[in-house]
Amino acid sequence: MTEQWNITLRIYRQKENEAPHFDNFNMEVSPDEYVLDAVERAWAFHDRTLCFRHACHHSTCGACGMRVNGVEKLSCITLIRDIAHNGATLKVEPLRNFPVVSDLAVDMGFFYRKMESVGARAVLPVMEAEIGNPPAQWEAEASQYIRLSDCIECGLCISACPIMATTPEYLGPAPLAAAQDHGIQRKPELLSIVDGEDGVWRCHSAFECTAVCPSFVDPARRIMDLRKQVVGARLSKLFGKA
């Protein structure tokens, strides 16, 4: 007999030309289900006008990013058991800093454009990827192997970053991480994009992006590394070694 919990899903609703408000959906769930399952249940059995995004259901597409009890999560891998208890109210809101299209679905356009501006790669050669415990010396044939980039462009980091809250101009954690992924050495044209007011110097080390990233990108570490690369490149240019 699977355990059953009685929870209230409190979902942010916003339609065009209407004021935003919250709707409560009371339901029975298994605590071993995911938040996304509960949201789908609210849509299927309670309110078919509820709008949200979901696709792969296993944290590779990045579509289901939401704020669950105020914290950015991928709802498809957030176990109800981990963030609620029997009789609890589960608050579900859209990601911060993105314009709301409808309810929990937000317009990701400006973020995708930033990713494009740094030439973010979805696939990269294994030898260029930062992976744990790489071989000390790559075998010659390793150069043919490629891997998917860790970043699934879910936007959780953009939502969590305190600087993204006050300025849309900041490139943001994921785009900067994507720039670091290339590296200034491999792509020198990135230098003028990331060395500026909207680039690496806008970060204030809150590390919130790394805290919420569901995909081990560790954007904060990458931003710090990118800073080192930028300083190195600028110093080289100054002393004429470029």
């Binding site: 314009p99 709301v100 299209v101 317009d107 356009g109 400006f110 454009r113 930033k114 501006s117 600087i163 006050t166 300025t167 849309p168 101009e169 490139l171 003028s192 994009i193 060395d195 500026g196 007011e197 909207d198 680039g199 110097w201 806008r202 204030h204 930028v230 300083v231 600028r234």
Partner: protein, 131 residues
């Protein structure tokens, strides 16, 4: 259809903070820690201490040693630089218009320069009171 956020980074990054300004901020930081500790030791342990804060006479006396005004002026330049670059950084986080940024930058620069000039004048004035 929602209003898209038009990001001007599509047309190129805006000038305003770059490697050098940031480096100055990050270098003056630890420098400040050192100079602040010096300033504190000198002010509260080496001056004569009837109540913990030095009196006018105590200050004039210890300003006779030329090292003291030198350290204090170094401290002033470092702290004003660090503080005002930091303030400007906070403004940048709020996405100011180019005009606003320009005006505030000039005001902060003016404040910084005049603070340092005032401080140097003050240090020399105090030192001269002892002769």
């Amino acid at each position: 259809m929602s209003q898209p956020i038009i990001s001007s980074s599509a047309s190129g990054p805006r000038p305003g903070e770059n490697t050098w300004i940031w480096l100055i901020k990050i270098v003056t930081g630890p420098l400040l820690v050192i100079v602040l500790i010096l300033h504190f030791i000198v002010n509260h342990y080496l001056g004569s201490m009837s109540s913990g804060l030095m009196t006018y006479e105590d200050v004039v006396k210890y300003f006779q040693n030329p090292i003291i005004p030198a350290i204090e002026i170094l401290f002033l330049i470092t702290v004003v630089t660090h503080s005002l670059i930091g303030l400007r950084g906070i403004l940048l986080d709020m996405n100011p218009s180019r005009t606003t940024l320009k005006i505030v930058t000039w005001l902060l620069a003016l404040l910084g320069v005049s603070s340092v000039v005032y401080g140097i004048w003050l240090a020399l004035t105090i030192a001269s009171k002892g002769s």
